[in-house]
Amino acid sequence: MKQLSLEKLNDLFALIGQTEALYLPVDDAAGQAAYRRWQPGYTLSKALNTVRSAKDFFFPQTENLVDFKMQGKSIEVIDPRTEQENFVLFGVRACDARSFSILDKVFLADPVDTYYQSRREHGTIVTLACTRPEETCFCTVFGIDPAEPAGDVSCWIEENTLFMKANTPKGDALLTLAAPLLSEGGDDAVAAQQAATRSVLARLPLAKLSLDGMGGESMLKLFDSDKWAELSQACIGCGTCTFVCPTCQCYDIKDFNTGDGVRRFRCWDSCMYSDFTRMAHGNPRLTQRERFRQRFMHKLVYFPANNHGEYGCVGCGRCLSKCPVSMNIVKVAKALEGEVK
């Protein structure tokens, strides 16, 4: 374990920021935390988490896939990618860190998505342990321990000290870079903080959420449940839940006429939208009921069916706090509980 006085935190950021692009949660004017590229004067947000998840760094909201130049009947295909720079993502919470491994199961499965892969290879993830989880948090339901977050480097802040532990070769490299500022020690302080955090976690209102019976075995029973009509009644199909969700990974591919050619890009899409599955001959998900059902079936049933029981949710609680009609995965899971018992 390494340690650093918080008074020197900006020196650490400056040191890392000199050699690599460093991103960290910073409060905006409205007091909302968002990842920003570090520059002198920025301070680490004290918010529990960023409004948007950290998935942008690996699966950006929009990105260019391919460019085309057209002349007469001919087309030229151009790969628009430039070299990916190394970057460090500082202050990622345990829930978002787990979301990367869920996204990996989609984007790194054969055939590998090389756009995503390149960012994963060039990014170093520095996670920060939670000490004051909120009532919307339920990461422990998914076996995530926010007192011991995964990542290339795990950090803890206790009183006036930052403690850091490298978990991977990338993490070792980062701590080697930061070595001039670091000293040894802190195991006891971290262990004490972890014990305190874990006792809070056990008392969170959603800590005992049960997902028993979810997963592939219950696919038809859950799909055919008559609960979906009532659950989806209030959904306005705004897609906010998919937008803030760290594991939602559906995308659209669109073309844009640049005046000089055509740029094909991909952007986040949402299964909550009516035209997501609309085809020339019709739409298999005609009403919000079907679209709402798809989102939760995907996270609680389809994804685990394809990934050895792992759910497509990390319990970050963003959908709980952001849904304009107060509908969320916790209410869905509770409502469906009776269906599979």
Binding site: V66, K73, V77, T114, Y115, D224, C250, I253, N257
Partner: protein, 275 residues
């Protein structure tokens, strides 16, 4: 598969055949004049015109055709309107092949085969029919039951007359929805015609057509005594990536682009009814 799967290759359209008032068959080769890639019967490819759109189409030519690929495409949206308006020599983009295929080298090998198609549903089955015709010794009797709204809506009509009907051991049964002048063949919907024809119960059956036709055909086959494990179909849903990542063509936990498009009906039974 090319790991840069979202970056397409260039395809050159070398021939356009007008099949019906709303179906054309496009012949496509790569920039080097050869086939853009190899495929198996039932697999699909993403075709696009940059700036217009990109969509998934079944490859209607047989893999045994070593010179080019063909796509029979119905005019029904932005991209297909554009494709129907283009001229020979036009370049388009192509990527693939995507999805699984009819098990022509395993479950279907050595079997009597019945192909049942409605309208443009013949397009994916034509790939299998011509594959099986090219490797005739590997399969038993072949029966093609094909119907469309009218005579002029029969896709591949000339090829059916000139080649399929001329083959020994291939029975072709055509039907159209309503009586018309110059047609002395069968009149009526495909599902009823299948029941009248009573295909051999030992056969494996491959069905493709409009959802309603598939539904009634399957019901009819069951009445005749066929089981769902004998009947295959090919599905289509909206797709963007073609590799199971963009998240929209799923039926339950299966992605039509990657785990399909070919399914046996007993496999579909295990999935939610959402297609």
């Amino acid at each position: 598969m090319n790991s840069e799967t979202l970056i397409p290759k260039i395809g050159v359209v070398t021939d356009i055949r007008i099949d019906t008032p709303d179906v054309r068959t496009f012949r496509v080769v790569g920039l080097d004049g050869k086939k853009a890639f190899e495929h198996m019967p039932g697999q699909c490819a993403m075709l696009s015109m940059p700036g217009v759109g990109e969509a998934m189409f079944s490859i209607t030519s047989s893999p045994t055709n070593t010179e080019y690929m063909e796509f029979s495409i119905k005019k029904c949206g932005c991209l297909t309107d554009w494709l129907h308006a283009m001229e020979v020599g036009q370049q388009i983009t192509i990527r693939g092949p995507y999805g699984n295929y009819f098990p022509v080298e395993t479950d279907l090998k050595g079997q009597d085969l019945v192909f049942i198609a409605g309208g443009i549903g013949l397009a994916p089955l034509r790939s299998v029919i011509n594959y099986v015709r090219a490797k005739r010794g590997n399969y038993g009797k072949l029966q093609v039951i094909y119907g469309s709204r009218s005579k002029e809506d029969l896709v591949d009509y000339q090829e059916i007359l000139d080649e399929w009907m001329a083959d020994e051991g291939v029975e072709v049964n055509l039907t159209i929805d309503r009586e018309e002048e110059g047609w002395d063949g069968h009149v009526g919907f495909v599902p009823n015609y299948v029941k009248e024809l009573e295909p051999d119960l030992k056969s494996k059956v491959l069905v493709c057509g409009p959802p309603i036709m598939i539904k009634f055909t399957l019901a009819g086959l069951k009445e005749l005594g066929f089981t769902e494990t004998q009947v295959y179909t090919t599905m289509e849903l909206r797709m963007k990536c073609g590799v199971g990542k963009c998240g929209r063509c799923n039926i339950g936990n299966k992605y039509v682009c990657k785990d399909g498009p070919v399914f046996r009906f007993d496999q579909l039974d295990e999935l939610p009814d959402e297609y």
